[in-house]
């Protein structure tokens, strides 16, 4: 399968991407993903998008709007409602030399395709003794906050991060949304990209040339000295807002955006822990067995003697996300929760 590799790297190369978007630009998260897909489709004819209503409808959240008209029904491919088959077909197409982008409307529906993702996509390379790599990118919407209730609102990205053989990324900024897809397509193995539904309308800057973003390093979004707030995806804004409030309160919080949930960037995490000696992890996943537990456990293992206070977690309440606005708001991490947890860690009291 080596033959596949060199060209597969193409879409990632700066030059190619630069061609299409020279100057820095401000756009929405939704547009950033769309632009990234458009670039990739132009850069490599093995790239195609498939999923439910990605074409004629324009994407259930409008992400692929316009691509159907630009690239046609073969490459912007509407699928029947058959999550297991079209995700599996994405795996097969990847094995057949394509670079598929498969869109699953919402993370809850991805459970219908979990067998294909875990038992095949993640295991294929190893089961075949290294013969069959699966250069597949699966994109899906995740997260709560839009009153979509218990079958449309969960955050399983941290859960997926348990599976060896796949990468799990969660772009939280417009620049990352713009820059991670090319890198994901250039990766020879399956990459799951989680887009928090609450971020689609957020807007931000994309640097000139829309530089590719790697799939393993966390980013320090804000420097601080008193405490390290670790988060990713949809809770980055919440966490940055908390850092502002803490600053006003005289607490200097560093904010680490994980970006990649598998693998985790232990180096950046421990670096910040060693600097601040106090940690709060903010994670929209359900608390028990969340990625925040893994991070806490790794800090325990790698930086125990650096800690001045136990690592704290601010997660979603362990409940199927309810519809009613006030209940949903109560169920997911709020800025106040983060502030309170940070105060407790620093001063021993919220």
């Amino acid at each position: 399968m080596t033959a596949k590799k060199s060209p597969k790297r193409k879409p990632a190369s700066r030059s190619r991407v630069a061609d299409t978007t020279a100057a820095a630009a401000t756009m929405t998260y939704r547009e950033a993903i769309r632009e990234a897909m458009r670039d990739a489709m132009k850069a490599d004819d093995r790239v195609f998008l498939m999923g439910e209503d990605v074409g004629a409808y324009g994407g259930c959240f409008g992400v692929s709007m316009g691509l159907f008209e630009e690239f046609g029904p073969e490459r912007i491919r509407d699928t029947p409602l058959s999550e297991s088959a079209f995700v599996g077909a994405g795996i097969g197409a990847a094995l057949g030399g394509m670079l598929p982008i498969v869109e699953i409307m919402t993370v809850n529906f991805s459970l219908l395709a979990l067998d294909q993702i875990v038992n095949t996509a993640a295991a294929m390379l190893h089961m075949s003794g290294g013969q069959f790599s699966v250069p597949l990118v699966i994109r899906m919407t995740t997260g709560a906050g839009r009153q979509l209730a218990a079958q449309h609102s969960h955050s399983f990205e941290g859960w997926y991060a348990h599976i060896p053989g796949i990468r799990v990324v969660a772009p939280a900024t417009v620049a990352d949304a713009r820059g991670m897809l090319a890198t994901a397509l250039a990766d020879p193995d399956p990459v799951l990209m989680f887009e928090h539904g609450g971020l689609y309308n957020s807007s931000g800057d994309v640097p000139a040339g829309a530089p590719p973003v790697d799939l393993y390093s966390a980013a320090v979004r804000r420097e601080g000295t008193d405490i390290c707030l670790i988060t990713y995806g949809g809770t980055l804004p919440t966490t940055l807002a908390a850092a502002d409030l803490l600053a006003a309160d005289g607490i200097s919080a560093e904010v680490v955006d994980l970006r990649s949930l598998r693998p985790l960037d232990d180096e950046t995490i421990m670096g910040s822990v060693t600097k601040t000696h106090r940690v709060v992890i903010v994670d929209e996943g359900w608390r028990s067995g969340s990625i925040s537990a893994e991070i806490s456990a790794r800090i325990m293992e790698q930086a125990f003697f650096e800690l001045d206070a136990p690592v704290a977690r601010v997660c979603s309440e362990e409940v199927p996300i309810p519809y009613a606005r006030h209940l949903e708001a109560e169920a997911i991490p709020r800025t106040d929760d983060v502030v309170a947890a940070a105060r407790t860690a620093v001063r021993g009291t919220g």
């Binding site: 439910e52 209503d53 074409g55 004629a56 409808y57 324009g58 259930c60 509407d78 029947p80 409602l81 058959s82 999550e83 297991s84 088959a85 809850n108 529906f109 219908l112 839009r146 009153q147 979509l148 209730a149 218990a150 079958q151 449309h152 608390r287 028990s288 704290a312 977690r313 601010v314 997660c315 309440e317 362990e318 409940v319 199927p320 309810p322 519809y323 009613a324 606005r325 006030h326 209940l327 109560e330 169920a331 991490p333 929760d337 983060v338 309170a340 947890a341 919220g350």
Partner: protein
């Protein structure tokens, strides 16, 4: 109201209530009183009205996320449905479900499922329970034509057929799954023919003709009750409105929609009843007023209702009294 209904006016009354109720829901959505996803059934009312009129109180109904009408027709009160969409504690799901998750134990209304095809295995299990307990009850399962591509459809219908379970599978074929036309999602677009490949009786009916639906459903339900095993019913209908409140409708022609509106199930039935006597302007106005009153009362009720206490957020994750309940579960920040 769940005993078989012959009264034609009653069928009209029900369709009108569902139509007006959902028209009001759309207004309330734009007023941001209702949030989340809202999928209306406008144009398809004859299907659920006809089918549910063929059921007994003891029968069970499993529906989809487009189920306001099914809930009302099954006897779930307009008040509790509206309150649910408002997210109130007085709602049929105590505000936890919203539009896509209406439930009512007394009406044996098992939801309200936002996973396309997710209700089919449930219906099979409900019917299995009846068979194992020797109860002569029927379970009706509603789903759209798009759901027929899901593996759950295939597995569930086969299971019901192999075990000869008392299930009526009702496919609401409105020709689109969001923006995906039937011909782009199913290699066999004759859905009754497709279903008959499971060796079960499968019929098609004009889903815009409430009496045709009611008549066919009655025959199917009677056959199932007599032990003839699962049946499949395709109701050919059309969605007059957008899929949800977020749908730009770029996938179908306005002309096609206009064309179908010529076959509005309510207008058609009103016309029929006028021609054949039994309905005049006065009676019609009366029905409209009744519906308007019920809806106004439901909205007032929802408006005046309380929200669930936030402290009860974790209630019903497990059954009350379960050793797995909150405290242990609740993770304080």
């Amino acid at each position: 109201m769940n005993s078989p209904v012959s009264d034609r006016i009653e069928l009209l009354r029900r369709m009108l209530l569902v139509r007006r109720f959902e028209e009001r829901c759309v207004e309330l959505y734009t007023e941001t009183k209702i949030r989340g996803f809202l999928h209306v059934y406008i144009g398809e009312e004859a299907v659920a009205t006809g089918v549910i009129s063929a059921l007994d109180e003891s029968d069970a109904v499993v529906a989809t996320y487009r189920e306001h009408g099914h809930a009302l027709l099954r006897g779930v009160s307009a008040r509790s449905v509206m309150a649910e969409m408002y997210g109130r504690v007085t709602g049929c799901s105590r505000g936890r479900g919203g539009s896509m998750h209406l439930f009512d134990a007394t009406a044996r209304f098992y939801g309200g499922n936002a996973i396309v095809g997710g209700g089919l295995p449930l219906a099979v299990g409900l019917a299995l329970a009846d068979k194992l307990q020797g109860r002569n009850r029927v379970t009706v399962c509603f789903f759209g034509e798009g759901a027929m591509a899901e593996g759950e459809f295939h597995e569930s219908v086969n299971l019901a057929a192999v075990w000869q379970l008392p299930v009526l599978f009702v496919c609401e074929n409105n020709l689109y799954a969001m923006g995906t036309a039937l011909r782009r999602s199913e290699s066999e677009t004759n859905l009754a023919l497709k279903a008959s490949a499971y060796e079960i009786p499968a019929w098609s009916v004009d889903g815009m003709d409430v009496e045709a639906v009611a008549g066919t459903a009655e025959r199917a339900v009677a056959a199932i009750r007599s032990g003839a095993g699962p049946h499949f019913l395709e109701a050919r209908t059309y969605r007059f409105r957008a899929h949800s409140m977020f749908d730009p409708e770029r996938y179908r022609e306005k002309a096609e929609v206009a064309q179908w509106k010529q076959h509005d199930p309510i207008d058609a039935f009103v016309g029929k009843l006028r021609d054949e006597g039994g309905l005049d302007d006065g009676r019609l106005a009366e029905l409209e007023n009744q519906a308007a009153d019920v809806i106004a009362d439901a909205v007032a009720f929802a408006e005046d209702s309380e929200d669930e206490d936030s402290a009860d957020l974790l209630r019903f994750v497990h059954s009350p009294g379960s050793t797995a309940e909150p405290a242990s579960l609740r993770g304080a920040p």
